[in-house]
Symmetry: C2
């Protein structure tokens, strides 16, 4: 999908004024509704824009892509998502350590985004409508964004999915249930314990 | 704590009649309240019995121990809990496979208990009061029930905690969010992918 911002109304380009905030909110609400009903794969920018009463080009101008719009609707940081995917690339010999550290830092250290990531996690587990939305999105991320970075690894999308869900479990244990033994450990300590396991799952010998 | 059922009212022994069900319900409600306020470690059978207006011996007769009462209050099967702890014992060379299979079977196959385990998992993530109750309970389970089975493993309670939370994450991905790539796999397939990693975490070389 190309960036069609050229055709967006000029007045929208001067920063977030009252009108722009209202428009963004309408788009996000339409997106949440549409992703919830149609799922990530079938929802389109065009339909969401129509629901919000705006031009599709404006949605692209604001959010860049369907993925960016979904991330905004789920209160995810696009940079954080990119960071997670990137951690599966690069030097294979330390992939376990890199992936574990990236997951934990994202959910635990970057204060601005970690609170919304935790909120999203709670919602995904508690709320069927949110888990339906996440389901397709995560599937697409695994197969299109992460698996290609695991070139020559058999069952790459599956292995990445196993690892990603396992690390989310670890975050739940530390940040949501806060089991004392786990919550008290530093990220370095947790990395030392978990990374060798993740390494073996991602790079089977 | 010894079984004091000898001192329980005789009429309670003839099966679950209306009165017994009401009494059990009162005990469970008092237990949930007390575990929520005092936490697992500080709550006592004596206090819970007093809150429910019954004798402590009756609570022991019905639930066996504080742990059994907690499991009942959280709708956990005591047999399932015992099965999870037992999987960490036994032959070390296949501990990864045994632990992964036990966790997945418990949450996915045993229909009677798996639904209540999933409900408990949702509640633990969504509801702060439930996660507070679980926190101490899980800590005690890790240090007193599971770590002793991992004799000579360094940081046994931590390693077991890392593995247990990771496997709960996998269950969330398969059973709650239901990411297609993971949900479609058989338990055998998931065991094949995840067990080598769990093996390395539980038995570092």
């Amino acid at each position: 999908m190309t960036n069609q911002s050229e055709s967006a109304p000029v007045k929208m380009r001067r920063g977030r004024r009252q009108g722009e905030n209202t428009t963004r909110q309408a788009i996000i609400e339409a997106a949440r509704q549409r992703f919830s009903v149609d799922g990530y794969a079938l929802a389109t920018i065009r339909k969401i824009a129509a629901d919000a009463g705006v031009n599709a080009s404006l949605v692209i101008q604001f959010y860049g892509s369907k993925e960016g719009l979904f991330a905004a609707a789920m209160s995810m940081s696009p940079m954080a998502l990119e960071g997670l995917a990137t951690s599966f690339g690069g030097d294979r010999s330390c992939i376990g350590e890199r992936v574990v550290r990236t997951f934990l830092q994202l959910w635990e250290q970057e204060a601005a985004s970690s609170e919304s990531m935790i909120a999203m996690l709670r919602a995904a587990v508690a709320n069927e409508a949110v888990s339906v939305q996440l389901r397709d999105f995560l599937q697409v991320r695994l197969t299109e964004e992460i698996a290609p970075r695991l070139e020559r690894v058999p069952d790459a999308a599956l292995r990445a999915g196993v690892v990603a869900t396992m690390l989310v479990g670890l975050v739940i244990g530390r940040r949501i249930v806060r089991i004392p033994a786990l919550a008290e450990l530093s990220i370095d300590n947790i990395v030392a314990l978990a990374a060798p396991g993740v390494q073996v799952i991602l790079c089977p010998s």
